[in-house]
Symmetry: C2
Subunit: 207 residues, 2 copies
């Protein structure tokens, strides 16, 4: 789509929007149309400013590498969290999902990715060295929960970290956990895939 007959300012907006992930050119034209004709000037200005401010102001937490507006993030800076438990996750979106589940009061460590040799991503590209340093320097930490997703590379990443941690676990006096594998809430046994069922049975819990 070359945006024939569109004014330059609109072609420019379409091109910037279409460069965002998951937004095709057709969708970018729809969004641009909405911004230009269905949005008040005030609201369009707010969107414009929000983009600039967010890019200017936001960085990552110096402790856990979650989003932050400088220094520590709101979770690492909160008095109400349990600093003895650290949940290791792949990306900030996972943190948001866990926070919304409402059952976790510990803190986090965001790896910012997973090991993927095919993409040239090794352990040194994750915030793993920083995590080891954190374990060494923060004596409050007693539990680590590895909560990577269940894609193959993520499980491998989790295994890799578990191996490294286990070697140091006794020295640091920490316990290592993996987030539980099992059947998702509300699902029918008959419709579950084989791996999920196998994991759920292998990880069975006495009642």
């Amino acid at each position: 789509m070359d945006g024939s007959g569109l004014p330059a300012a609109m072609r420019r907006l379409v091109s910037e929007l279409a460069s965002l992930p998951g937004i095709g050119e057709k969708n970018a034209i729809r969004l641009a149309f909405h911004i230009i004709f269905k949005t008040s000037k005030d609201k369009a200005l707010r969107l414009s400013q929000a983009v600039r401010l967010a890019r200017d102001e936001i960085c990552v937490c110096e402790t856990c590498f979650h989003f932050s507006s400088g220094g520590k993030c709101s979770i690492c800076d909160s008095a109400g969290r349990d600093f003895s438990t650290v949940c290791v996750i792949e990306q900030p979106l996972d943190l948001i999902a866990i926070e919304q589940s409402g059952g976790y009061k510990g803190v986090y460590h965001v790896l910012h990715g997973f090991i993927s040799p095919i993409d040239g991503i090794g352990p040194e590209d994750l915030k793993l060295r920083e995590f080891i340093k954190r374990l060494q320097s923060d004596s409050r930490i007693k539990e680590v929960i590895l909560a990577t997703s269940s894609r193959i590379e993520s499980v491998a990443t989790s295994n890799f970290i578990a191996e490294i941690l286990k070697k140091r676990a006794d020295k640091f006096g920490i316990k290592i956990y993996r987030i539980s594998q099992g059947i998702p809430a509300g699902s029918d046994i008959e419709h579950l895939d084989q791996t999920t069922l196998r994991n759920a049975i292998a990880d069975r819990k006495e009642i």
Copy 2:
């Protein structure tokens, strides 16, 4: 999704992005994440400026109501178009699609909607009065092609306009056409819906 643990500047960007059509909160967080961490400062600034400039600079063409940066749009202002034929369409996105098809050299008139009593949209809400005025004032126009989409309301809108135009057609000395109904390119007869097939047979052409 309440964006727990997100810095204010990011919550603000997420909220502005999520207010755009077709972008849910989860998607807005992904886009915000991309803008903040995967985009250079320069590029983020370009997006921010593109939003503001587009909203500030773009209006509709005084003749055809397509996007314009003031006065006439690039199509109405072009010497290379055939001003004797006007294609009547519902929205600017339709113009872009027709331009890309490459087979049309006439000009356009954008209605900006279709008649939909259930949504309280009547003929007076479309750029229809303006179209009648245009026909009266522009003696170059000899052909009108009604090219609304094939949803029921659009067909009804097209019928409504056809009725109005037919009454005036002789007076204006113009011919009225409807975009052809038939089988889409590359489709199997066996998989077509009944209405499309019925239309294609009813509109058959002698060869």
